[in-house]
Symmetry: C2
Subunit: 437 residues, 2 copies
């Protein structure tokens, strides 16, 4: 992509309303624009990252054998009356009346609707387990939306749902999602620690929140320092068909949110206990028959009797993850994207647009990166070099390749690693070979 | 994908509420389920096609140099008061009040919001033209939603917007979108004819609807039979930088919707005039300063004066396109997907699950197609062959490969072309080679 053709409205000033780094940097980098309180438009740079994050979530859901569907944003109030949640949910639910005076709502979550889909089509235990997910916009009418996409009102969420014949198989589904979540966050460069958590309005008695440690975290969390030091996915147990031993081992390392943490009964000695701020990036629940019972989601079991199915639900805040990733990875100059979610891998800076040698070298290298399938943003704007460097640091692409008149006269370009700041002079061919790998 | 793991609830009965073929077939093929009047959940098979259609739209927008953004579904009523459309729009606009009593709406289109984004960031003629699009869910509160996704209330739309310094350059943007649309529909196997059309509530004086001819079309349309016989994209003028000669040539062939058609002044002799039913699959508008004037979207022009920008908007009904494609391509047995939008390229039918030779051959061929990057759906269910054939015809994958005990004993499988019905006995190696190409 050429920056001259790319809608990238970066801001020099720090917007006054932004209190935390991710909000400030997303506004300054031209990723999002607030349209109403807690409601954002995604500009091209932000949308590219949102899609990368969503695609990692999608790939790991698919790999875990979960079927993707897409439920609508608006739901019928009657469905929520069946579960009893319509009246319970309070003012965070955006209630809507259509032209025929039918009561509807903008879905904050989808347990009722997916249960309705399940009961329509599934009749026999032979069709179980059923695992469905979707990635769709949700709405929660927060009293005070803030922190940018971290606590917005309209937000993108992946929510998955499992249906099983009994608790034993439901726990297998739960474990499957548990591992899928660990893989998902790791691919985004995040360390997310599963912590015992309260279940809130979703309900159920078995639940973990996945928490990223960050100074700007919204809540206090506690964990064994082993969590910080261990790459749990390296344990060979994660490759077993039965995931229970792996989950037992992983959750055997203590980790709990403030609500669940009991200092008097904490099993970890003080010197091994990490006390930190955390950002919730996912929440998984097993809640048995809480929805299937009132909504009559049942199947015929092997002995011909009718059995109410056991359910779980599994949520990842996709848009919120962008905020969490930036909180975990930025410096004073701007964002530092992990390569897996970067909007482009390389920022190619032509320091002197109009100089025939620089232009030719930039165009040549740009064409070669594109031909190699590498995502590259060419800064071909007629701007001062200082503006270009500042913008490129701000938007945080993992690699910068700088073409200047002096270097290119000797066939050399500068390659900068955005994360380490390391700069090296290399030949054009080397830059191409190293960064196309 | 294995059918035993794929949530595909096909129906034997024809649902009573479905009046047209596409609605009937999408329900029977387990593509969608109605959740409320005119509001659908997309099941795995339907979602795969929806994503393919959306991706073709996206690729052709990107190829035309249009920048992708993503605006939210909910908008502030105040924005629509600026343009004067809030009161004009009538009951099709879904009006919403949030917990702080702020008036909002579920966007039926985005002229106001995108103009607001434009005026925030763009100050100079040097930044023009600006072309932005998004693919997002919209809501129109139809009095009588019907025909499935063809006239739903919550629907997926691609809407693009152009901003130019004057009418002359705005027409260039219009022409660019005009050609992008022709390419988009052609890639989906559709012949969509641009017809002069009324502008309706969007406004403006220059507009074309893109219409697919189909017996079940919602409106009467008229065109020169040259349109039916010509592949307009083969005209070399379409490759010129200035697209005006191409657009002049194409629109020189008569085509008009009923509202614009005047039999008394029709330039086409009766023997060359096609009178048919049509389905609208896109609508493009140039409307000058209708929104930019009241909303003060202006830039500094070369002579330092402030100039109000000229705008156009360009819509494709993405979810509705699935209905149009099925109306144009089905038979009594089911859907016939064009390969570019098919949910899978190949349906691999193991006729005798449990037979060791059939199972081994099916697994082997399945693994080889997957390794070749071919999208294949393996029917590994323990069902009668008749059920499998009927389901495979119903869901309309372009190719069927049938593995039966007699054939496979001699190393042969049957390859069926869903569109022509042609069946051939070939070796396993031939099937693999031909269909992986």
């Amino acid at each position: 992509m050429r920056l001259s053709k790319f809608f990238l409205p970066t801001l020099k000033e720090t917007p006054a309303e932004a209190q935390i780094a991710s909000h400030r940097l997303m506004l300054r980098a031209g990723m999002v624009r607030q349209q109403s309180a807690g409601i954002y438009a995604w500009l091209p740079l932000g949308l590219r990252v949102l899609n990368k994050v969503a695609n990692i979530v999608r790939e790991e859901q698919n790999r875990a054998g979960i079927n993707e569907i897409l439920m609508p944003t608006l739901q019928s109030a009657d469905l929520w009356r069946e579960s009893g949640r319509y009246d319970d949910y309070g003012q965070e639910m955006l209630r809507i009346t259509d032209r025929h005076k039918r009561e509807m709502l903008y879905g904050p979550t989808n347990e009722e609707m997916v249960t309705d889909i399940f009961r329509t089509y599934v009749r026999s235990y032979k069709q179980l387990p059923v695992n469905l997910y979707h990635i769709q916009w949700k709405f929660r009418d927060e009293v005070r939306p803030r922190f940018g996409v971290m606590r917005g009102r309209e937000f993108l969420m992946k929510d998955a749902y499992s249906f099983d014949l009994d608790k034993e198989s439901a726990v297998k589904s739960y474990n499957n999602h548990f591992v899928a979540y660990l893989r998902t966050y790791q691919r985004m460069g995040l360390k997310a620690i599963p912590m015992k958590a309260d279940t809130g309005p979703i309900g159920g008695d078995h639940s973990h929140e996945f928490i990223v440690l960050a100074e700007t975290g919204e809540s206090q969390v506690f964990c064994d320092k082993a969590w910080v030091e261990t790459d749990v996915l390296e344990n060979p147990l994660v490759k077993e068909k039965d995931l229970q031993p792996f989950v037992d081992w992983a959750t055997g390392m203590y980790a709990a949110t403030e609500e669940k943490h009991d200092p008097a009964n904490c099993p970890v000695p003080a010197e091994n206990l990490v006390t930190a701020r955390g950002i919730e990036v996912g929440h998984i629940f097993y809640f048995g028959t809480k929805y299937s019972e009132p909504m009559k989601a049942a199947v015929t079991a092997p002995g011909s009797e009718t059995v109410t199915v056991h359910m779980g639900s599994y949520g990842i805040g996709v848009s919120r993850l962008l905020g969490a990733i930036i909180e975990a990875s930025h410096d004073d100059a701007g964002i530092i994207w992990p390569e897996s979610v970067a909007p482009f891998k390389i920022g190619l800076i032509n320091m002197k647009v109009g100089d025939a040698t620089c232009d030719a070298a930039a165009e040549d290298l740009y064409a070669k990166f594109e031909a190699a399938g590498v995502e590259v943003l060419l800064d071909d704007r007629d701007e001062r070099a200082g503006v270009k460097f500042a913008d490129m640091d701000l938007i945080g692409l993992p690699w910068q390749v700088v073409i200047g008149p002096r270097g290119i006269a000797n066939g050399m370009v500068e390659v900068k690693n955005r994360k380490t700041g390391e700069k090296r002079e290399v030949t054009v061919a080397q830059a191409l070979a190293e960064l196309s790998a």
